[in-house]
């Protein structure tokens, strides 16, 4: 019998706690497939954030550290400096990375720390119950922007990869989306490229994944995927913003 699909070795045989329709599960799997394909699982140390993915260490079959809110890039710096031969990745959401952890992510990129960041942008705080994030769209209703995000009060959503792309220490920066199979394949390619950048010692690498939060968006999974495509992609353009070769592909 031919096996056409199986759980990656880099994932534990464990059901996740993620809500139905949430794309965290897809991203977990894409990262795990890349670790398998590159044969680096046993040399990888992951760093979990505070947020919905705080329990990532339960789902990956590799060594893991759990970091304080926003501090994953500093923790990853400590890990990578002690064991440069290990592969290190942080897995962070938009509250963790783009709000409380802005100093840590910017300076890790500035120093050209040779690790990979998987950045989940779902335009909201998920774990705490749907508060406004720095990435929340203008007009988007959350528990702390009940009348919709108002730019005059809360500013415009932050574009992380564009901001980081001014830093020379960043080797690879890409934004992808998870709203259909074609985009998911592109996302995997970007994640692979990020880990290859790390393997080649070409500096900091980050992939931003436009993701869903059906529960806190008040949508069903299909509507949520549609919302990513029609509302988020126009504001958060997809593509490679920086590559080790120096090119852009948007």
């Amino acid at each position: 019998m031919k096996v056409v699909a199986r759980r990656p070795e880099s994932m534990m045989d464990k059901p996740t706690h993620y809500c139905p329709g949430c794309t965290h599960g897809i991203t977990h799997r894409l990262v795990a497939e890349v670790l398998d394909e590159m044969g680096i699982r046993e040399k990888t140390v992951g760093v979990a954030p505070v947020g919905c993915a705080v329990l990532a260490y339960e789902y990956y079959n590799c060594d893991f550290q759990q970091a304080a809110h926003g501090r994953a890039p500093a923790v990853a710096t400590g890990i990578k400096r002690v064991h440069p031969e290990n592969f290190v990745f942080t897995y962070q959401g938009d509250g963790d990375l783009a709000s409380i952890g802005t100093a840590e992510i910017i300076h890790a990129a500035m120093r050209g720390e040779n690790f990979t960041t998987i950045f989940i942008n779902n335009a909201i705080y998920g774990m705490t119950g749907g508060q406004m994030a720095p990435t929340t769209m203008i007009g988007q209703k959350t528990t702390t922007s009940p009348y919709g995000r108002d730019a005059s009060q809360a500013g415009q959503p932050i574009r992380v990869v564009e901001m980081l792309s001014t830093l020379q220490g960043a080797g690879y920066l890409s934004r992808v989306a998870l709203y259909n199979n074609r985009e998911i394949k592109k996302a995997k390619k970007a994640i692979r490229k990020a880990f290859e950048t790390q393997k080649a010692g070409q500096g900091f690498s980050l992939v931003e994944l436009l993701s869903t939060c059906p529960t806190n968006w008040g949508m069903n999974p299909a509507e949520a995927l549609e919302w990513v495509e029609s509302n988020m992609v126009p504001y958060y353009p997809l593509g490679d913003f920086k590559t080790p070769e120096g090119g852009q592909d948007q």
């Binding site: 046993e42 260490y57 500093a74 400590g78 002690v82």
Partner: protein, 355 residues
Amino acid sequence: MADKILMKGNEAIGEAAIKSGCRYFFGYPITPQNELPAYMARRLPNEDGVFCQAESEIGAINMVYGASASGARVMTSSSSPGISLKQEGISYMAGSELPGVIVNITRGGPGLGGIQPAQSDYFQAVKGGGHGDYRTLVLAPQSVQEAVDLTMEAFDLADKYRNPVLILGDGMIGQMMEPVEFKRDISPEDLPDKEWATVGNKGRKPNIINSLSLQAEKLEELNVRMQKKYQQMKEEEVRFETIKTEDAEYVIVAFGSMARIAMGAVEKAREEGIKVGLIRPISLFPFPDEVIGMVAEQARFMLTLEMNCGQMVEDVRLAVNGRCPVYFYGRSGGVVPTTGEIYEQLMEQVRGEKE
């Protein structure tokens, strides 16, 4: 035995760390500890080590977290306002049971405060400091030599208990130059592997470094286990010095720089035929309450001296537990009292006692 060399306290602490097998230092500038990161920035690249200047004290302590969880001996240093910023990370280290040495070259507070020597971070150091039910070992040197010895010990204790250890100094200890001797020189290769470290899970289940525990009963189990650790510290790690306490009627309790200054007052009083002794806590957590309680049996009073507005005095009172009166004298904001001033304070209490 190695030769003595003249060194500034901050630099001597750095060298003591290197000679304890520490090859990783993460820091951020703040006065009066700047010589320590600068020393590590000079020395570590020549020792196959890493010095990294972090974006903030918060960044630095979290780099310490990552490096410690990777199995390395690691240090950071700061001064009071910066130590406040590190408290979140220290709490996470305690909760994740990670070793590490944190140096606080204390300055006067609160807020931005000043840059002169103070002991006003005593509460923060010995009562936990950050959120949650945890303690760090706290060691308080009174000389550059003792700063060296305690730094070396701090790395061993951190590994023994898988717990952060604080060196609580002040600008006087950090800036002063004294002859020092390094009594050991171990390299990282001499240290045993830490089987719990995250270094890649070849041939074993993943190692997880974590302080999250969503089930209350599980988290309580962790707390109970940590309390056992603190109990063991209380049984095995109490460090103190007693000076002329055997026949003392009046007993000074002071730590660090303050104890050193108080020594002059003890000697002067003894010359006058007044039976004064000194108890100097070296470990502030665990606190030497047993010896303080014992000496209190014979003392007519105890006088706690601190370079703050009265913090350790609360622990002295708990240790004395009503056996004798406990008085307090302190200067704060970076004012360092003189020996003469201490002697006067002491004599005032002695005269009051006799009236």
